[in-house]
């Protein structure tokens, strides 16, 4: 076996997955070839380090597993609890409490916005990125979602896009932008206002609170605004007031057309 052949078998050899004949041939080669032996030792070192890195625990994992083990040990009791809960739901509907159950929690649109923001924060906001022009945002989204996104007049001050992609909240296509708002990373979701039909809880909140409002969910705030057929949802750590104002400005400037 020559050096090239040894390298071709490198992965399976390090994984101890070569058959006996190949393993012996490689071992024999390594005995007389210093560079290959050194290369294999370093590759193994890299593999071990990568495995250690990729398999590393995160803070809080022990608590997570305490909860998971608790779920196993409680599983028998939980079945009984579920039966009880089901009976309670039936009773709640029977006494007219259904509306209370349906209204509990944040709105459907807010939940979707928070979930995507949390995901993108981990994936995308870890490194600073170059600002994009709004024209580049429009061009990058063109043809990839069933509506066009464009900006009317000058670019909104203080809101700088750094990335964009098509996305979906449930079944509704969404133009999803990563922006900087006063130096803070925020997510901006832009939809046609007609999409509110798919988010009855959010539609109800708009009906009650007016065309621009904010709400909180955990550490995150969400600012929502609608205007002229455009619906905007800005999500991030800045104050609800700041996000509502950003959403309002964007709803005024951004045009959504089919």
């Amino acid at each position: 076996m020559n050096c090239g052949e040894v390298l071709r078998h490198l992965g399976p050899y390090l994984d101890s997955e070569c058959d006996r004949e190949v393993t012996l041939a490689i071992a024999e080669h390594l005995e007389r070839c210093g560079p290959c032996a050194e290369r294999l030792a370093r590759e193994k070192d890299l593999e071990d380090r990568l495995a250690g890195h990729l398999g590393a625990c995160e803070p809080g994992d022990d608590l997570l597993w305490r909860r998971l083990e608790g779920a196993v040990t409680r599983s028998g009791r939980r079945r009984l609890l579920w039966r009880g809960a089901a009976a309670a739901v039936v009773l709640a509907f029977a006494v007219g409490g259904a509306s209370l159950l349906l209204r509990s929690g944040a709105s459907d649109l807010v939940r979707a916005a928070c979930a995507d923001h949390a995901k993108l924060s981990r994936e995308k906001f870890s490194e600073p990125e170059e600002p994009l022009s709004w024209e580049a945002v429009s061009a990058s989204l063109a043809g990839r979602i069933p509506f066009a996104v464009s900006i009317k007049g000058p670019s909104p001050e203080g809101i700088t896009p750094v990335g964009a992609r098509p996305c979906a909240f449930g079944d509704e296509p969404v133009a999803f932008l990563r922006c900087c708002l006063g130096g803070e990373p925020v997510s901006v979701a832009i939809l046609p206002e007609a999409a509110l039909g798919s988010f009855p809880e959010a539609a109800g909140e708009f009906a009650r609170k007016g065309d621009a409002f904010s709400c909180g969910r955990g550490d995150l705030h969400v600012g929502l605004a609608r205007r002229g057929g455009t619906l905007v949802c800005v999500t991030g750590l800045p104050s609800g007031e700041a996000l509502r104002e950003a959403a309002r400005i964007l709803a005024e400037r951004v045009e959504v057309s089919r």
Binding site: R49, L50, C57, E58, D61, R67, E69, V72, A115, R165
Partner: protein, 191 residues
């Protein structure tokens, strides 16, 4: 007769790698706890069907993988639509030119590995799902090729192919990252 205690005894040594595998293969890693909980409860419910003496690790990874695929299916449409607008993807052809940098990286692992932290997670995240799962099942979970093939329901040859491509891409990405960030001394010329 299998007991809850036996189940937990089998499970505890694997908790770290199950968590790491879930986080790194889920489209949305924040779903890891929910998906793990579903998988663990189902596994416990089916524990009487687990044959003692066979690999518990492969058995539970298969159940977890099933739940991860289900969770990821919900995001499939969004994933298909995603545009890497500010692509950090290392172009493979360009990455090939980094082979010399890879050699350099390999020679200086002690000096550079800790500085590769951010690049490793990103490089693994960029792998196609099957390559990523195979790499993690082998490297993190320590499954054999046959066990990984069983978990993913693919032939062993496919496992070897996925693994080989995943490792090559990972190495090229790391070398490119190290070179771009100036972690490695520049090479004067190709040997």
């Amino acid at each position: 007769m299998h007991s809850q205690r036996t189940f937990l005894q089998h499970l505890r040594p694997l908790q770290g790698i199950l968590t790491a595998y879930a986080r790194r293969t889920l489209f949305d890693p924040s779903e890891a706890e929910d998906v793990l909980q579903d998988a663990i409860r189902i596994a416990y419910g089916k524990f009487d069907r687990y044959a003692e003496g066979t690999s518990f690790k492969a058995w539970i990874f298969k159940i977890l993988t099933f739940h991860i695929l289900n969770a990821n299916r919900r995001h499939e449409r969004a994933a298909r639509m995603e545009i890497p607008l500010l692509a950090h993807h290392a172009d493979l052809a360009a990455a090939l030119e980094n082979e010399w940098e890879y050699d350099r990286l390999l020679a200086d692992l002690d000096a550079v590995f800790d500085r590769l932290d951010p690049a490793i997670a990103q490089a693994v995240q960029r792998l196609p799902p099957m390559e990523r799962s195979t790499l993690l099942l082998r490297s993190v979970a320590g499954l054999s090729y046959r066990e990984a093939a069983g978990v993913l329901d693919v032939p062993i040859g496919s496992v070897m192919g996925y693994l080989s491509r995943a490792r090559a891409k990972l190495r090229r990405d790391l070398a490119a990252y190290a070179s771009e960030r100036g972690i490695l001394p520049p090479l004067r010329e190709k040997p």
